[in-house]
């Protein structure tokens, strides 16, 4: 646990100082929310019906951008190789990176919810508490898949292009289930009504975290 905390701390400290990931992800997210919000206003059904979709489309694009950069930090100066030289388990290295990435994706979600509440649908702000659990569970699944695939594509020349192509299809089940739960939360459904999708989401998270922990050793082996 100490190794995981140390390595995750390292990622968060670097990000807190440089704000490289959050500023780029937030800017992309903000612009996407505004464009999608304006597009949705044109619909006779209004933007409200599209709020869950706007939330997740924005998070998916912003977070993919951030995950690619998060792995680039490990490649610069071969820093990850330095960590792999130490007597620490590859699984722990994966879990630490996944934890840091999940925190970043969750922070992005908070920015997106705020922007959506301001520019698209005020209900997103009112039901932010109820949406928090499906969004955070979605962030964990997204980060788990993104961390593994990000490590796979980080060493390639086309990583920025390749990551979304391989990540989004794999992470689709997480997005769809989280989307369903967010839609129910926005409709004002009681928390008990979200139990089904939340259980499924937790199962997906567990599966992707376990798979990532197991496969990471093969991904980082040259």
């Amino acid at each position: 646990m100490r190794t995981i905390a140390l390595l995750a701390w390292k990622d968060l400290v670097i990000e807190a100082r440089t704000r490289e990931l959050m500023s780029s992800m937030s800017l992309v997210a903000f612009l996407t929310v505004v464009i999608l919000g304006l597009a949705a206003q044109a619909s006779p059904r209004g933007a409200g019906a599209m709020t869950p979709a706007i939330l997740w489309v924005t998070v998916a694009f912003g977070a993919t951008l951030g995950l690619a950069r998060s792995h680039a930090i490990e490649q610069e100066r071969q820093a990850l190789q330095g960590v792999l030289l130490a007597p620490v388990g590859r699984g722990e290295v994966f879990l630490a990176k996944c934890l840091a990435n999940a925190v970043l994706v969750a922070a992005l979600q908070a920015v997106v919810v705020l922007a959506t509440a301001v520019f698209v649908d005020p209900l997103a702000g009112r039901h932010a508490g109820a949406m928090a659990v499906p969004l955070v569970l979605g962030a964990v699944g997204f980060a788990a898949v993104g961390t593994l695939l990000g490590a796979m594509t980080a060493a390639t020349r086309l990583r920025e292009v390749l990551l979304p192509i391989v990540l989004l299809p794999v992470v689709l089940p997480v997005i769809l289930v989280s989307l369903a739960a967010v839609a129910r939360a926005l409709d004002g459904a009681p928390f008990g009504a979200l139990a089904g999708p939340l259980k499924l989401l937790a199962a997906y998270d567990l599966l992707f975290v376990v798979l990532g922990t197991w496969l990471f050793e093969y991904v980082v082996a040259e």
């Binding site: 390292k10 670097i14 610069e76 130490a86």
Partner: protein, 254 residues
């Protein structure tokens, strides 16, 4: 001014047993169809140092990365103090490695990097050890982010990273690159004392003069095969360069 204060490697007392500190047996490594290492075999006893000489692209860096368990050989075995670093990851804790890249996080200061790595190696007081490693290599601007440091300071920080856990085995790939004359001379002094206290050293370089600074035998790596060993006792740079050239020709002729 600073001085390299040598501390006994943490586990060096037990390294003086019967098994070599580093051994490679029939090691082969390929990148696709390109065979970089062909049946390499070396043994480095505790308290000794070997230099791997060879031209650019000869495979010296690949050999060191295989010994450090950063690359898995396609055939053959590597042992660090008798243990397989792939089967027993704790064996990696005995290795200090310097490669072409510093293996440090640019967004953290040198001191923070060293604290992180000391903690990953299970050092008891990472803060104190990081400061010790900085003093050891005479690292100035230790609180500045690594990304803003000059090439020479980054190299010192990389050396400090390799030494922070006081390993009994050092695998160094061109460790003098980027160091000024004073720092290089002092680091060479450190390596001599390190070996005299039981440390084992593998030094890859293409400069004969650097090989003489840290090693007591030399090998030449040509076309993936090793020629040697050549004892370096009472040998000067000119004699070593002569042997290096002739061994290189012999290696290519095989």
């Amino acid at each position: 001014m600073y001085s390299y204060r040598v501390m006994l490697p943490d586990a060096v007392a037990s390294a003086a047993g019967p098994c070599p500190a580093v051994s490679a047996v029939d090691v082969w490594k390929s990148y696709g169809r390109d065979r970089v290492l062909r049946g390499i075999g070396i043994e480095v006893p505790p308290g000794s140092g070997i230099a791997i000489l060879g031209p650019n692209g000869a495979g010296k860096s690949t050999l060191l990365r295989v010994l450090a368990a950063l690359l898995r050989p396609v055939r053959g075995a590597v042992r660090i103090r008798g243990r397989d670093p792939w089967a027993d990851p704790a064996a990696r804790g005995s290795i200090g490695f310097v490669g072409h890249e510093p293996m440090l996080y640019g967004g953290l200061s040198a001191l923070e990097n060293l604290r992180l790595f000391a903690a990953l190696y299970g050092v008891e007081d990472p803060r104190a050890r990081a400061a010790w490693a900085c003093d050891l290599v005479g690292l100035a601007r230790r609180d500045d982010p690594v990304r803003v440091l000059s090439r020479g300071l980054v190299q010192r920080a990389a050396l400090a990273r390799a030494l922070v856990h006081r390993p009994p085995v050092l695998l160094l790939d061109e460790p003098f690159a980027g160091l000024d004359l004073d720092a290089a001379a002092r680091f060479a002094d450190y390596l001599r004392t390190f070996r005299s206290r039981g440390g084992a050293l593998v030094l890859a370089t293409h400069h004969a003069a650097e090989a003489l600074r840290g090693a007591d035998v030399a090998y030449v790596l040509v076309d993936g095969r090793l020629t040697g060993p050549q004892p370096l006792v009472r040998m000067d740079v000119a004699a070593l360069e002569g042997w290096y050239r002739s061994a290189g020709r012999t290696g290519r002729a095989r």
